[in-house]
């Protein structure tokens, strides 16, 4: 057996292609090293270092540009869609870390490992978003998941945090098993794990109707469904979201979801058109169930974190509507919505983080009574983010939902679009409950005094608000970027 020659050029090209990932990983290692050297009172530098690292990663991703760069013999690709998701994930990570400037001080997460875990998880997301091989996607999924399990349980002393982490870990491990088993079956049928190759085999019908392959795709779908918490694979979500430190919850909702949908989109857009009749029914049912169960469960919640957890389930359902629709329009809608969701979700969590003083009952909706007028900026911001989540114009949430449901109608899924619209009407009720509490409920004697936000925290909130408004009023350029990204994938 001849040894495979070392191709230096290919290696350099491969490393070039994963430049943003390397920057993020490098920052994580730096953070861990710096953690050893820095004195206790200097730990906040770690946060600054992480912010700088993610900002550098964003710049490097922009520097790579939207052109297609393949690396590691096609295991990973930096293309337009990769760039879109890379930027979305990095933006979410950046906002999260900026909010961490304040959050870590209050909650005692001013530790090197906290930031390193966030960064490592981010790198996993980036791999997942750019992986064109099922193995890369799986490695990315594990790299993102394991740090998140730790982060959910970061408050070692709190039962709920541990309970959430345990549930998430056990179910997540199962889902990884499903995922891997699905890949194995697909490999057995197709002889490859390369997504574009599988797609081309599907197109000339060699795999069509192969039961082993279909079972593989089904299991893969189950794995994804766990990660983006589609009903009925959503059981872990409320507990994990409620138990996790709020900052981690915000990060999970925004970034993990983006990464998982990136990979799912790649698989679905490339391989599903050939077997659409079989799969679209499955996706249809999943989307309908997820939206409905998510929204109706959210109606019953009195805790903001839990309510937003169920709302994130519902939003996964909306995004799945776009996936079901498929095609350029569906893909574009999904990309745009994932971006918008990152901003509105992080923004909403950011505000409630400031207001809630204690974990657990600090997040009760009643606890927000009277906030609106005592702290008009915070009240206004939270209202804006909730209104956008509810999908009311002129916010970005409306444009995003319009595109999702529009794509469904265009592809002939009128029933699904109707269901989606009705669902978002239901959702308005629970999104307005905190608003009612903030502005209309009689203010109690001791209104909680929100923590004074650090300047970076304020900046993150304002940036999210600006994004939500700007993407709502002038969405044209972001939509075009999304469209070009999807086209680059389908070409």
């Amino acid at each position: 057996m001849t040894p495979i020659a070392m191709d230096t050029g290919a290696l350099v090209r491969g490393l070039y292609c994963i430049l943003p990932e390397m920057v993020v990983i490098g920052t994580a290692i730096l953070v861990l090293l710096a953690d050893l050297l820095l004195p206790e009172e200097g730990k906040k530098r770690l946060c600054h270092l992480s912010v700088a690292g993610v900002a550098a990663a964003i710049l490097s991703a922009l520097w790579l540009g939207p052109g297609k760069i393949e690396g590691f013999s096609g295991m990973i690709v930096h293309d337009g869609m990769g760039l879109f998701f890379t930027l979305t994930i990095l933006a979410a990570a950046l906002l999260t870390l900026m909010m961490a400037t304040g959050y870590s001080e209050w909650e005692g997460t001013q530790k090197g490992e906290f930031y390193a875990l966030i960064l490592l998880s981010t790198s996993g997301m980036l791999f997942m978003a750019e992986g064109t091989d099922l193995m890369t996607v799986f490695l990315g999924l594990e790299t993102l998941s394991i740090p998140i399990y730790c982060l959910v349980g970061f408050h070692r002393g709190r039962m709920r945090s541990l309970e959430g982490a345990m549930k998430y870990f056990l179910l997540g491990a199962f889902s990884s098993g499903f995922f891997l088993y699905g890949i194995a079956l697909m490999y057995a049928a197709a002889g490859t794990t390369r997504i574009p190759v599988i797609a081309s085999m599907m197109r000339d019908a060699r795999l069509y109707g192969n039961p082993v392959f279909l079972a593989g795709i089904g299991l893969l779908l189950v794995g994804f469904a766990f990660k983006v918490s589609l009903v009925p694979f959503h059981m872990w979500t409320p507990d994990a979201y409620e138990g996790a430190p709020t900052l981690v919850t915000a990060f999970m909702g925004a970034a993990v979801k983006a990464a998982a949908f990136a990979a799912l989109l790649r698989v679905v857009l490339l391989t599903f058109p050939a077997i659409l009749p079989a799969m679209s029914g499955v996706l249809w049912v999943l989307a309908a169930l997820t939206m409905t169960v998510g929204n109706f469960s959210a109606l019953l919640q009195n805790n903001m974190k839990r309510m937003l957890a169920y709302s994130s389930i519902a939003h996964a359902g909306y995004i799945l509507v776009g996936l079901t629709a498929g095609g350029v329009a569906g893909g574009q809608a999904v990309l745009f919505y994932v971006l918008v969701y990152a901003f509105m979700n992080l923004g909403a969590f950011g505000v409630i983080m400031l207001v809630a003083q204690r974990e657990d009952d600090g997040y009760d909706i009643d606890n927000f009574a009277g906030i609106g007028f005592r702290y008009p900026v915070l009240g206004g911001l939270l209202s804006l983010f909730l209104v956008s989540l509810a999908g009311i114009p002129p916010t970005a949430g409306f444009v995003g939902k319009f595109y999702l449901f529009g794509a469904a109608v265009r592809s002939g899924y009128v029933g699904l679009a109707v269901l989606g619209v009705l669902n978002s009407a239901v959702s308005v009720y629970y999104y307005l409950r905190p608003v009612v509490s903030m502005y209309m409920a009689p203010a109690p004697e001791g209104i909680p005094v929100p923590r004074p936000p650090r300047s970076a925290f304020s900046f993150a909130l304002c940036a999210s608000a600006a994004a939500v408004l700007l993407l709502g009023v002038m969405p044209a350029s972001a939509l075009e970027f999304a469209e070009r990204s999807v086209l680059s994938l389908l070409m």
Binding site: P376, I392, G406, V418, A425, A476, E480
Partner: protein, 509 residues
């Protein structure tokens, strides 16, 4: 001046929201500054609306003819789905634009008495004005929908924060009802978008004028049952806003809890959006279904007239009575429109304008007595005529205008509705005409109980109406009287458009 002339509708729409932005920058505690900024930001659109009135060419129709719209602004907004920023005015929207500008300004002046959280109140109010103007100026369905929704939230907050004791209930009820209507509208919007093509570009379109040209509809959209479904979806969406029976139950709650100026806007402008939407969107896009649905619409109109009047008679709360009188009066609009005759259509539009003025007066007047007595029970007063003669005169004037006394604008509108619809549905019109007796009855009965009879000693020292309140009422009264005597300026404003609309609906496609 070129800039103002070219963007007059945009300016009318967005000046208020600029004022709102300015208000948000005013430091805490300077409530008077805020009030005057708000007054200025709502006065400028009023000035522009006068300019609009003089520049408007009354001879051309508009409705579905792109070249005949005036003050047009047409740009691409979201090119990837062909959303256009398309504003324009014709005889259907002109009276509404003027009414909105006038009532908004008066409502801001009428809100000077608000002491609680002035900044938030005025900012939300101006945002609301932007939404209303935008609805009446848009000719692109997507844009229309966005403005329609933009209006929703400020209204919700204005009722929910500055309202009466049951404000939260009323606000959420208003919101959910209206939202249900919006959802239906959104579904119709999607259906129309994907089943029409822009003849110029070949892509899908949101342009309302393209929808009105039936040749842009594809085969699916030409099916009559599909058209009925879409028409009914829109109809329910608009009927909730009007509100037509049986979707009217949110209205009394919202009115009773809303602060005075907000009730004025709610009844004076927001209700008209429902009937405006029917005229602007439903009728010209689905003329065939409109003809098919004419009789049910007339029946609903009459139910509104009679049932609204009976409900009004049963109320013990003065404001609730006025609220139900709106239900009754909007029935006339529906009846006139359903007749599909030029006279009926003009009568309906006239009633929209006239009712906007009269109901605004009524709500202002109820607010005046509520501010002083802190209750609105009709039976809780008595003999006020002797204590507050000027106020009594204003109320009597408004009540007589509302019950359709000849010489005032309500009479002209109602007569035109009856004239226009009598030949079309005789029985229905006769019932409606009998309904007028109830309308007159509840007005006169309330007048008698509040102002005549022995004086309730509790109110022997009731304060007379003040100058600011007169300032809000007098312009409305003058216009009501002017139109009542010489209605031609308003009729000619909308005549050619509405005649064209009737022709359009009557033409068989």
């Amino acid at each position: 001046m070129g800039f103002i002339d070219n963007h007059i509708l945009s300016l009318m729409t967005f000046l208020p929201v600029l004022g709102a932005a300015a208000i948000l920058c005013v430091p805490r505690g300077k409530d008077d500054v805020i009030r005057w900024i708000a007054a200025a930001a709502s006065f400028l659109p009023l000035v522009l609306s006068v300019k609009l009135l003089y520049a408007f060419d009354r001879s051309v129709a508009g409705v579905n003819v792109a070249g005949q719209f005036q003050f047009v602004e047409h740009y691409s907004w979201i090119p990837s789905i062909n959303v256009e920023y398309f504003l324009g005015a014709d005889g259907i929207s002109m009276p509404m634009l003027i009414l909105t500008a006038l009532l908004s300004f008066l409502a801001v002046i009428g809100s000077f008495g608000i002491e609680k959280k002035v900044k938030g109140y005025m900012a939300l109010f101006l945002l609301l004005e932007t939404g209303m103007m935008g609805v009446f100026a848009s000719l692109d369905f997507f844009l229309f929908y966005v403005f329609w929704e933009v209006m929703l939230l400020p209204m919700y907050f204005l009722i929910g924060i500055w309202g009466g004791p049951r404000k939260e209930y009323a606000a959420i009820k208003f919101f959910l009802y209206t939202l249900a209507g919006s959802v239906l509208m959104l579904l119709v919007l999607l259906a129309l978008y994907f089943n029409t093509t822009n003849p110029e570009t070949g892509g899908h379109t949101f342009n309302l004028l393209h929808y009105m040209a039936q040749s842009t509809h594809n085969g699916w959209l030409k099916g009559f049952d599909v058209r009925i479904l879409l028409f009914l979806g829109l109809f329910i969406g608009f009927a909730i806003k009007v509100p037509l029976f049986p979707f009217h139950t949110w209205l009394p709650d919202a009115h009773v809890e809303a602060p005075t100026a907000i009730s004025v806007i709610l009844a004076g402008v927001l209700l008209k959006m429902g009937t405006y939407g029917l005229m602007r969107i439903s009728f010209p896009i689905f003329p065939d279904v409109t003809r098919w649905f004419a009789v049910p619409m007339a029946v609903i109109g009459v139910i509104n007239i009679v049932y609204g009047a009976l409900c009004a008679m049963a109320q013990s709360d003065l404001k609730k009575m006025v609220a139900y009188s709106s239900v009754s009066h909007m029935g006339f609009v529906m009846l006139g429109m359903a007749a599909l005759t030029p006279t009926g259509m003009v009568g309906g539009a006239m009633q929209m304008f006239s009712h906007g003025l009269i109901t605004a007066m009524l709500f202002f007047l109820v607010g005046v007595v509520y501010d002083r007595a802190h209750h609105r029970q009709i039976d809780g007063f008595g003999g006020l005529g002797a204590v507050v003669p000027v106020y009594t005169a204003f109320v009597s004037f408004a009540f007589f205008a509302s019950l359709g006394l000849p010489g005032l604008s309500g009479f002209i509108a109602e007569q035109m509705v009856f004239l226009g619809s009598f030949d079309v549905f005789r029985t229905i019109v006769v019932i409606a005409a009998l309904g007028i007796i109830f309308v007159a009855a509840f007005h006169l009965w309330a007048l008698q109980r509040v102002f005549l009879g022995p004086l309730n000693p509790k109110y022997a020292a009731l304060e007379e109406i003040n100058a600011r309140e007169v300032f809000c009422l007098a312009p409305l009264g003058i216009i009501v009287m002017y139109i009542g005597v010489w209605p031609m300026p308003v009729i000619s404003l909308m005549n050619s458009s509405l005649v064209h609309l009737v022709d359009l609906v009557k033409a068989v496609i």
